[in-house]
Symmetry: none
Subunit: 201 residues, 4 copies
DNA sequence: ACAACCGGGACAACCCGTTGCT
DNA sequence: AGCAACGGGTTGTCCCGGTTGT
């Protein structure tokens, strides 16, 4: 990796953390200079504008936080195990995500107003990717008879993502991780119940 | 209400929408002048600083969006009905909350970095209030034997809030309201299940 | 005149001198701050951008330098006397125009590249106004039989303006005013000759 | 010519056009990189600074545009023919000079403020050279009895240069070449009249 | 040895939230 | 009470040298 690549990567890494923490408008080039240790010229040599840097940084952040979940999913087999592995990966990632300043997808979804449509579109695409992953896993499990036939894959995706992201936000706001525990318990039961006949109660 | 009060209320109302949409750093005094139709002096006449206005605006926003839920809760009796009324109020509020630019609590929880601790504390308190409301309702239902004894009130609060807020964020990011429907279905089942013995399956 | 008007006028006056001397690109807002004695905010309160200020300043400069010529023309009667009065006014203005840093029209005509079309158009219009003035005077003198019938009004305008502006540039570049004297002598003879039959030689 | 010489010449050629068009302050190294197709290092390899390049470019530009006039003068004999040849060469050069962005002498005379005295001195010298050329031709014609004895050589130089440069500026500002035609007609008559007794009228 | 290039730091235009004079 | 002025803040560009890979 050339030195230029290294520098660029370094900038992206630090910028991603800062943007995720403070938002686009809340992060100034001066702040970025401070965390990267570079002067303005040094940064603008690699990125034509703050926007361009933000876009690269967000892509990097998404990739960083989603990496572990994909790996966990890949390592597991079967619908229930895969979904539970994904949930577990998210929960276990709490400390690291928290250190990052929260989930980049959620932060961007909330932070991005209509001023920077490209960032919003990026967030939508990334979220859709996650959504589709859950949907595919669920649908496959339904098709293979592991989950009940009347399970709605899209609803499963919504619930899992909502609970995880909502609990993460709660935990970070309150400053303790108990919401994550509640989320895990709830989702484990929820996923387990996908395998049962609906009228079992 | 005096004319000064009216003006102040007008500023707070418009500022709340703008802050909620664009975040603190993303909202400038110029923008606030534009939406309020007042000159700079007119605003600074009522608020000593941007911070002070932001604090008042956030308090107003929280009160606005939580009002309906409290009313719905008050109008209902019993744990299940109260919780379901609260969920329903949130879901039915989707269009209005969406027009506001999302839930102020969530937005502030995500947006507020450590630069403005007062706003963060406000968000924590407001969230705690909501949390406590659910906890109290749930605990009362447990004590009265409506909910099972082993239900954990804190977990119920976490799940309901997480699902609602998570689904709201999802719905707003994707631009359609289906996640809200999934959330409602899920929470209705969840709340119903609080009344049953855990091992009923 | 309100204080705001006074300040604005003061800025325009000083800016006009500076822009005329150093050109648009060669004049920085810092320089403008220095000559006006105002800070950045003070200037930007009256002009939205450097461009806007440049436009106002150029209009002011044109008006300033053309004022005397119009007055001289108005005070005279007849084609020859009017044209000679105009020439004389320009020549007598040498010291002042020189102190201004040259004729704003000529400076703008040379300085303005395609980057700022509005300024160029302004210069074109101002030059056309001058051109038309000479043309009208000449044509009237032709119609009234003072000038020969075969005099071409447009050519007269071209020659007078060219000689005056060319000589001014020469005088300023060389640092002495003899070109102005030569120009006056030449134009006086030229104008006198407009009254004679062409084949008098 | 070595490759280094070729590169240097290429830079000077393109830089001359750009400087002439946009002025010193209005031309950035980035622009120069764009028109030369070289990187910054490539340019700084041949010129120590922007100033040095500007000086070389201006000298080149002057030489380019004055070349044809010298050739025209050399090819002619006698005061009248030489001066008319010079005028004609300038007029015929209109399209090319216009493509260059105007006469470098005039542009520099107007553009150069006191910030870059060296460029100003260059322009003064180049103009003096032209001036002296006309003066010498005229004086020789006077001494040889071709022109009248009371013709003032310096005045002739002033008038010819003024009319040509003034008309060129007018033509470029207005965007049509009629001023050039008027200038030619006028100067032809003017030069012809240098041969006649002054009171011939 | 040499040319590309990355980084520096000052400066560009412009806007910020705020104060104080009128 | 409203508006002009402030001055430090914003992003982005300037011209230029020190470093580095070839």
């Amino acid at each position: 990796m050339s030195k230029a690549e290294q520098t660029r990567q370094h900038i992206v890494h630090e910028a991603a953390r800062l943007f995720n923490r403070c938002g686009y408008a809340g992060t100034s080039m001066q702040d970025l200079m401070a965390v990267t240790g570079l002067k303005k010229g040094g940064i603008y040599n690699h990125f034509a504008s703050k926007d361009e840097l933000a876009i690269a940084a967000f892509a990097y952040a998404v990739q960083q936080v989603s990496q572990r979940q994909w790996q966990a999913v890949k390592a597991a087999r079967g619908g229930e195990l895969r979904l539970r592995a994904m949930v577990l990966a998210f929960i276990n990632n709490f400390d690291e995500i928290s250190a990052w300043g929260g989930c980049p997808l959620m932060n961007m979804a909330i932070d991005s107003d209509d001023t920077h449509p490209q960032l919003r579109v990026q967030a939508q695409l990334a979220m859709q990717t996650w959504y589709d992953l859950i949907t595919r896993i669920t649908q496959k499990a339904i098709d293979q008879g592991e989950f009940q036939a009347n399970v709605e894959a899209a609803a499963v995706a919504t619930i899992i993502i909502s609970v995880l992201e909502g609990a993460l936000a709660l935990a970070r706001l309150q400053g303790n991780s108990t919401p994550m525990t509640h989320a895990q318990t709830h989702l484990d039961e929820y996923i387990a119940r996908l395998k049962l006949p609906p009228d079992s109660s």
